[in-house]
């Protein structure tokens, strides 16, 4: 995915190294390979490539990773539909993805 970079500073991703037990789950599951194990702890080595899928946080057994928890995906139609739903006070119709 080196050819595909999105907005580098946008993603909300925090790693609490003190909590980390170095199990390596985040390194394994990340589809953009942004984690690595360094000295027995996880480290974020390519923050700009994070797409906030949440795989790392879901699979962290000690809750050391925080990813943007907002419901939804990186999809313009989805976000627009949820804005419209908020204004109309109705549940979002999603985006069909």
């Amino acid at each position: 995915m080196r050819h595909f970079r999105y907005l580098e500073d946008a993603a909300i991703l925090r790693l609490d190294t003190d909590k980390c037990i170095g199990c390596g789950n985040c390194v394994l599951v990340c589809p953009h390979r942004i984690f690595a194990l360094r000295d027995g702890k996880a480290a974020i080595v390519d923050r700009g490539a994070c797409m906030e899928c949440g795989a790392c946080a879901t699979n962290c057994p000690v809750g050391a990773i925080y990813v943007n928890p907002d419901d939804g995906c990186g999809c313009a139609a989805y976000i627009i539909n949820s804005w419209i739903a908020k204004v109309r006070g109705k549940p979002s119709s999603g985006c069909g993805c």
């Binding site: 995915m1 599951v29 313009a76």
Partner: protein, 329 residues
């Protein structure tokens, strides 16, 4: 437990027709596989159990890669949605996997206690929770089904197998759906096109209304080609990170030469069309964010603000200039 259905590892004509339906949106959201246990080859008590989603394209992608493999397939009810999106929506979950494991009485069928999960289920499935939920532990296999035979041989996935890709081919198969999703919006816009094209010195004169309507429609189709076909295909080579800017650039670049080749269009008319094409192409390109595997929710929310501001202003300006132009020509 009854017999476990064995599925074909070669796709037939009906499978391919169904793929066309799913890829064009004709039968996209109504193409599910019945959840439960299936098998490929002649699996036994030691054979691996592969977990996957019950979306038609997912199931086909899985079974067509398993011609040389003996395995059990545990298909969970992801409501006819692919693995990654279903995991994001919460339907491809630990609870659902555990439910299917119990329902299919998997512990009576195999002697081991391991499930192989698709890596892209990780955003919804906490593999370390599975053991206590159903007695089986989960292990993440490769992202793509095509790497499963190699993974099963080696017992582990390489870095390449764990990295998501977005190749030209992977982008190209998305284009038909991008186009098909626009038809409905376009059909709704046609009366508006007709209305805006009819305003002029001679109100709704048949000939001028129709010819201006045709020009507006043709320009919109150019925007469709730019935003829904060219931007997805040329994605890594189009400058700018923000998709709305990519769409604006490609739309304007594609339309300018056409505009110059049609000197009978006046300046105001040309400006209106250029604004309209740029806005449409920009909007369609921005919508492609939802089809890519690398855009973050925070990033898209960020670009939406500037993108929508440009698109709405440009579309509004075009809607004012287009009828106005009829009075100048």
């Amino acid at each position: 437990m009854g017999a476990v259905p064995r599925v074909a590892t070669r796709l037939g004509l009906r499978d391919h027709l169904g793929t066309v339906g799913a890829r064009t949106g004709l039968a996209r959201n109504d193409y599910r596989v019945t959840p439960g246990l299936y098998c490929v080859g002649s699996p036994g008590a030691d054979s691996p159990v592969l977990v996957s989603a019950n979306y038609k394209l997912t199931f086909d992608a899985l079974r067509r890669e398993l011609a040389s493999v003996d395995a059990w397939l545990l298909i969970v009810d992801s409501r006819g949605v692919n693995v990654w999106c279903a995991a994001g929506k919460g339907t491809f979950s630990c609870e659902e996997i555990a439910y299917q494991v119990r329902r299919c009485r998997l512990e009576d069928l195999v002697s081991h206690r391991r499930l192989i999960l698709p890596q892209l289920a990780a955003n919804g499935v906490a593999a370390h929770r599975l053991k206590e939920l159903c007695g089986f532990s989960g292990r993440f296999g490769p992202i793509f089904a095509r790497d499963l035979p190699e993974y099963l041989l080696q017992g582990k996935a390489s870095e390449a197998m764990r990295t998501v890709t977005f190749t030209l081919g992977e982008r190209a198969v998305l284009v038909p759906l991008e186009i098909c999703m626009v038809w409905k919006k376009l059909a709704m816009a046609l009366p508006l096109f007709l209305l805006l094209s009819g305003i002029g010195p001679e109100l709704f004169a048949l000939h001028s209304t129709l010819s201006r309507f045709a020009v507006l429609l043709a320009a919109t189709l150019v925007a469709l080609v730019a935003g829904a076909v060219l931007v997805p295909l040329l994605l890594p080579w189009v400058p700018f990170r923000r998709f709305w800017a990519k769409g604006l650039l490609v739309g304007a670049l594609l339309f300018l030469p056409l505009l110059l080749a049609l000197p009978e269009l006046g300046l105001v008319e040309g400006a209106a069309l250029l604004l309209w094409v740029s806005a449409c192409s920009s909007f369609m390109a921005m919508n492609f964010t939802g089809s890519t595997p690398f855009t973050s929710l925070s990033g898209v929310s960020q670009e939406l603000r500037s993108g929508l501001f440009f698109q709405l202003s440009a579309a509004f300006a075009a809607a004012v200039l287009w009828p106005l132009a009829a009075f100048f020509s």
